[in-house]
């Protein structure tokens, strides 16, 4: 059967039923457009959040601990069947030969690595607040951290200028009512107490960091920890943050130390994103499916109205499958045009949303809504919609074309 005949009949049906066709196209266009908007909004907000998250923390953190308890001498020597109340060996904290480990990692990781000392301390300034004290090397920290760009007052290099200088989060500074140049007391776990000068204030955007983290020199942190020369954390920044999981596994295999990627550190959050993605996909699928009902209705109506024409085409010798194709092509025409219009609507909606600004509680600033533009959203929304349209047309078309022409001809006569 000549394909151009089928196309010609389908096109004629679609163009002579302008109102029905437009309604069908509008249904598809709305479905596609709003789906793209939803996808852009959801992905935009998610990516924006993840970007902030990734920016405020190392992509991979190598810690001075093991994932499993070390093999005990009793097990090594005697093949013990059961052990209890074992005091783990390796009581000395810290990463052994950190400079060598870092040199080795630098030789292959796509990014950089910096040492740090992480400990807990208490800030005493008219009240006591527990914090995490991170000792850093300002010269190396700039290669692995966004801290320099997060500084609101002072610079990261100011740590080198003052003895026991510290950089504190903006939220903590507000809580303590302190500013740059003020002095606070830091109390370490061993009871060590030092007087620390605030040389800078940062804002990461993450409340738990801004309220509970203080940066100091490595030496200061070592003093607070009571462990001179210790490095208990290596911080890696990668060119591609997405590869952090793979790199972390390789680093752990090489060093034996627990290496945590940012994905692992935030696995709870990421799994909640997966649930959110599933919900969003379900909603978007439902929207596209609903819009396909418009096509189903229209093709049902057309095939019902065209029962006589179907009978005639079949009686003239057109095969059932060819007649069925006419209606599926009609749905495809409605779907394609609806999809194209939907793409325009989707883009326009996304553009409109991106012009709206909202107050971001994380950053404390008014920012435009993040929209993620991706051709994949358009392809997927359009593809699913087209599939739904042709699928929706298939059943009424099949039903209508199965009718015996004699029944219709007799009925009409």
């Amino acid at each position: 059967m000549a394909a151009n005949l089928i196309l010609n009949i389908a096109w004629t049906h679609v163009t002579t039923r302008v109102r029905q066709t437009l309604v069908g196209m509008a249904g598809v266009a709305m479905g596609v457009g709003f789906t793209i908007m939803m996808a852009g909004l959801m992905q935009g907000s998610q990516i924006d959040f993840l970007r902030q998250l990734v920016d405020t923390m190392p992509h991979v953190t190598v810690q001075d601990e093991r994932r499993t308890a070390p093999v005990q001498p009793a097990d090594q020597e005697y093949g013990a069947v059961q052990m209890s109340n074992v005091a783990n060996i390796n009581s000395r904290p810290g990463i052994k030969y950190p400079e060598s480990v870092m040199a080795s990692l630098r030789s292959w990781i796509p990014g950089d690595v910096a040492p740090s000392v992480k400990t807990t301390a208490i800030v005493d300034h008219g009240g006591r607040i527990g914090i995490t004290l991170v000792g850093i090397d300002p010269r190396q920290e700039v290669k692995v951290s966004k801290l320099p760009s997060q500084m609101r007052e002072g610079q990261i290099s100011d740590l080198l200028r003052a003895p026991n200088g510290i950089i504190i989060g903006q939220a903590l500074a507000e809580k303590l009512a302190v500013k740059t140049g003020d002095t606070v007391s830091l109390i370490g776990g061993q009871g060590t107490q030092v007087s620390a000068a605030i040389v800078g204030i940062f804002r990461s955007g993450l409340k738990r960091v801004d309220e509970g983290q203080i940066y100091a020199l490595i030496s200061t942190a070592q003093v607070m920890m009571g462990q001179s020369g210790i490095i208990n954390e290596l911080r890696l920044r990668l060119n591609d943050p997405v590869s952090a999981d793979v790199i972390a596994r390789r680093v752990e295999a090489q060093t034996g130390y627990k290496s945590v990627s940012w994905q692992e550190a935030n696995s709870d959050l990421l799994s909640s994103f997966a649930v959110r993605d599933f919900i969003v996909l379900t909603v978007m699928g439902a929207m596209l499916l609903t819009s396909s009902f418009a096509t189903y209705n229209i093709i049902s109506t057309i095939t019902n109205e065209k029962r006589q024409d179907i009978a005639i085409m079949k009686s003239l010798g057109m095969r059932e499958v060819s007649v069925r194709r006419i209606f599926i092509i009609e749905a495809a025409i409605i779907g394609v045009v609806g999809m194209l219009v939907g793409w325009i609507i989707g883009y326009a909606l996304c553009y409109g949303w991106s012009k709206i600004t909202i107050y971001n509680t994380l950053t404390g600033t008014t920012v435009p809504i993040s929209i993620y533009y991706s051709p994949l959203q358009y392809i997927i929304a359009g593809g699913i919609s087209l599939l739904c349209c042709t699928g929706a047309a298939f059943f009424p078309a099949r039903k209508a074309t199965r009718v015996h022409p004699v029944e219709i001809i007799r009925g009409a006569s």
Partner: protein, 246 residues
């Protein structure tokens, strides 16, 4: 080479159900090439059912329809459709033209479906057919812009478009006025005279009288056969034969 264009052997059409009903009851029939056969009979006698069987629009419960020497009872639905497309032309009581298409497009439809000619050749043939039926000025009009007689002539042009061996017409003048009726019957007569086989179902004995042979069907069986054309048409037909606008 056989002169038989259409043959029915022991043709039976039965409707099965709570109450079975036999529409066509064991008809044997042979129609020669170029013959004009009229089938008459009272309403419900089974004449249209017989015609649908002969035109492969319906499948027999028993028996065989042989078209141009080709038995059809074992053909698939697609093959039957192909025989209809290439060997049969249909004219119904109502024109059954596709309303969104022009006269020419309706005539082109079977040719396009067959796909045996190029677009230019099809257009030329479509226009030639319409012109031969006096519709050259109506080629680009839609059915709703034509009179009943004109629509039926377009339907005849459509039936002829693929140069079928057999034209099957079911009450082709049933919805026409007397003038158009005469025109359509004259056209069918000319088609038969040009060498094609024409099988027509009609209620009108006067029109049937112009056929080469008439079968009178009662209760699904051939009750009577009349050979040869009747000597003169009925007065009503003669009056309608005068040329008028259709």
């Amino acid at each position: 080479m056989s002169d038989v264009a259409l043959q029915a052997v022991g043709l039976v059409r039965r409707i099965e159900g709570a109450v079975s009903h036999t529409l066509v009851n064991g008809i044997d029939l042979s129609v020669n090439k170029g013959e004009f056969l009229a089938i008459t009979g009272p309403s419900g006698s089974g004449k249209s059912s017989l015609l649908y069987l002969l035109g492969l629009l319906d499948a027999p419960s028993a028996g065989e329809v042989i078209i141009c020497g080709q038995p059809t009872s074992k053909l698939s639905e697609d093959d039957r459709a192909n025989v209809r497309l290439t060997k049969c032309g249909f004219v119904f009581q109502f024109h059954f033209l596709l309303p969104e298409f022009t006269s020419l497009e309706n005539v082109l439809l079977p040719m396009r479906a067959a796909g045996r000619m190029g677009e230019k050749e099809m257009h030329a043939r479509g226009l030639e057919l319409l012109a031969s039926l006096g519709l050259e000025d109506h080629a680009h009009r839609r059915p709703n812009q034509l009179s009943g007689g004109q629509r039926q002539r377009v339907a005849i042009a459509r039936a002829l478009s693929n140069r079928p061996e057999i034209i099957v017409a079911d009450e082709p003048t049933g919805a026409l006025d007397t003038t158009s009726t005469e025109q359509v019957f004259s056209i069918l007569r000319e088609i038969a005279d040009s060498g094609r086989t024409v099988v027509v179902v009609t209620h009108d004995p006067a029109l049937a009288a112009r056929a080469d042979r008439r079968l009178h069907i009662v209760d699904g069986k051939i009750a009577q056969t009349f050979e040869g054309r009747a000597s003169a048409p009925e007065p009503a037909v003669a009056a309608a034969a005068a040329p008028t606008q259709a």
